[in-house]
Symmetry: C2
Subunit: 328 residues, 2 copies
Amino acid sequence: MPEKKRKKYWVGFDLGGTKMLANIFDSDFKLAGRARKKTQSKNGAQSGLDRIAETIEGALAQTGLQKDQLAGIGLGIPGPLDPSRGLVIHTPNLGWRNFQLRKPLEDAFRCPVFVINDVDAGIYGEFRFGAAQGTRCAVGVFPGTGIGGGCVYEGRILTGRNRSCFEIGHIQIIPDGPLCGCGQRGCLEAVASRLAISASAASAVYRGEAPNLQAQAGTDLSNIRSGALADAIKAGDAVVEEIVRNGARWLGVGVVTLVNLLAPDVVVLGGGLVEAMPAIYVEEVTRVAQARVMAPFKDVFKIVVSQLGDDAVAKGAAAWAEACVDGK
Amino acid sequence: MPEKKRKKYWVGFDLGGTKMLANIFDSDFKLAGRARKKTQSKNGAQSGLDRIAETIEGALAQTGLQKDQLAGIGLGIPGPLDPSRGLVIHTPNLGWRNFQLRKPLEDAFRCPVFVINDVDAGIYGEFRFGAAQGTRCAVGVFPGTGIGGGCVYEGRILTGRNRSCFEIGHIQIIPDGPLCGCGQRGCLEAVASRLAISASAASAVYRGEAPNLQAQAGTDLSNIRSGALADAIKAGDAVVEEIVRNGARWLGVGVVTLVNLLAPDVVVLGGGLVEAMPAIYVEEVTRVAQARVMAPFKDVFKIVVSQLGDDAVAKGAAAWAEACVDGK
C-alpha cells in the first residue's frame, strides 16, 4: 500500500490534569484513531513523559499505523511553557517544572514535535475547524477551574518570546480584590472561575438559599462542578443563577478590555462553565461587552460558543503541528 | 542630478490637536526638511486636509525636492481610524468624523499614502529607531491628556480588521470607578491620564495642600500641564508628588494586564506626563509591574522611556510607509 504509506498523519495530544488523550488525524484532519490514559501526575514528569509516549503508541496501534507515517506531533499542555524549546516551564495542575518534552518525543517518534499551551491549541482548533473559521483575530476565553485564554491573529498563535502568554485569567479586574491562586489579588480568575463561583454557591447552600444545589452537591467545593451548578439552576435555585450570572458579567468586563485592546472579530467562549450553561454566558458576556466597549468597536465583534468541545485541544495541537511543518 | 533624483524620500506626518508637522526623511531616515502649521481643527476636516497638503508642500519647498521624489507618505492621526481604507473614523480632539484622507493625498502627491494611529506610529518609531529596537514584542503606553497605546509584534503594528486598536486607556481598571471621557466608568484613563491627575492636583490646590502648584497654575485644570506638575514637585509639593505617583501606580496595574496578556520584551513609556517626570514613572510602573505580574513573566520585560520624543510619530509614520511599500 505505497499510497497509504505516503499519506501524512498528525498526532494531536491533550494533556489534562486527570487524563491524557492522543488523537491521530489523517491529512484531511479526519480522526483516524485515539487512545487515552490517566495522567497520574503524582508520579512525576518522567513517568508522565513515558505515559505520553505509551498513549501515542496506543493510538498508533489502534489505527494500524507505523511511526514513519507520522508527519508531526502537536501537544497541548496546561500552564506556561516555551514553545520554541519544547519546554514545560510549570504545569500547576501536574506539578511538573522545567521539563523537556520535545526532544525525547522526537527521538522516540522520529518526527517534528510541537509543544503549545492547551488553551492556545483550543482556540487554534476553533480557528481552523470550529467557531472562529475565517477570522482575522480570534480570542478564546475558557472559564473552568481557572480561566484560560488564547489569541489567533492573522493565522498565528500570539506568544511571548520563549513562552506562551495571553493569561486572560490574570487580567487585573478589581483593585485589591479577592485573592487569586496566582498569589495576586483581583485577577479575573479570582471572581469568575468555577472555583470562585463554586465558593459563592457553597456559601449560598450554607445559608440555606440553594436547596437544589444542597441536595445534589452540599457545601464541598470539590463537589460543585459546572454541571451541578447548571442542574441546580434548572431545578430553580435562583440564587445560584444570580451567582453564575454575576461571574459571567465579570467575564464580560474582561472581554471589554480584550476588545478595546485587540478588536477581535470573534470572542470564543468555552471551558466547563460555558459548556454547562452556554446561554447564560453568551447572554451576559454579550450584554456587558456591547454596553461597555468603546464606540468604534461596538457591533464589529461576535461572542460565540466553542464548537469543538472536548476535541478542540487535540485537534488544534495537531493542526498547529501541520501549520509549523508546512509553513502555513 | 540623476543620482539624487532617484533617491527615495519619505514624508512622516504628525497631526496633533493644536499643530501639524510634516517631516521629510531620506532613505536612511535622516531628516531632510520639515514644516509646521496650526491645525485649526474648528474649520473642519476639508480645511484640515487642505492644511495637511500645504504643510507637506511647505516641507518639500523647504527641502528643494519635487513630488516625484517621494516614495510614500505616512500620516499619524489621533483617534480611531481605518488604516486599510485610509479613513479617519473619529478624531475626538479635532471633531472630524468618517473622513477619507488617503485618496485626495495620493491624488495630490502621486505616491502611496498610509494612515495610521498616531500612537501606533509612535511605538513603531521606537521599534525602528528608538527604545524598542530589536524587540519581538513592544508595547507603548503614552499617558498624556488621555492614555494612548500601541503594540508592535514581530515587526508589525497590531490592528483590528479595518480599524486601529490597542486602546490601553480604556482597559477596565476599577469596577464602577470614575467616569471616563469615553462615557464608561473605571477606565485606566479615568484614573491615570493627565486630566485625572490634574483634577486631583487642582483639588489639592483648592484645599491649600500644594502651594507651589497654586503659585504657578492655580485651580484651572487647563493650566495644570505636565510641566507644571513636575515643577511643583521639584519645588516641594509632596501632595502633588503623591498624586502623580498614585497615577503612575494605576498605570502599573494596566501594565500588569498587558504583560500577562502579551509578554512583551519591552514596555515603552512616553507622552507628556512621562516626558515631564520620567524617573517617577519608570520607578512606580516598574515596581508595581514586577510585584504583580505572573511568575513566568517576571524579569523578562523592561520598562523604558521613549527615546524619540516629539519626533516619534512623524518618523514612525514615515518608516511604516516604507515598510508597507517595501513589504518589510
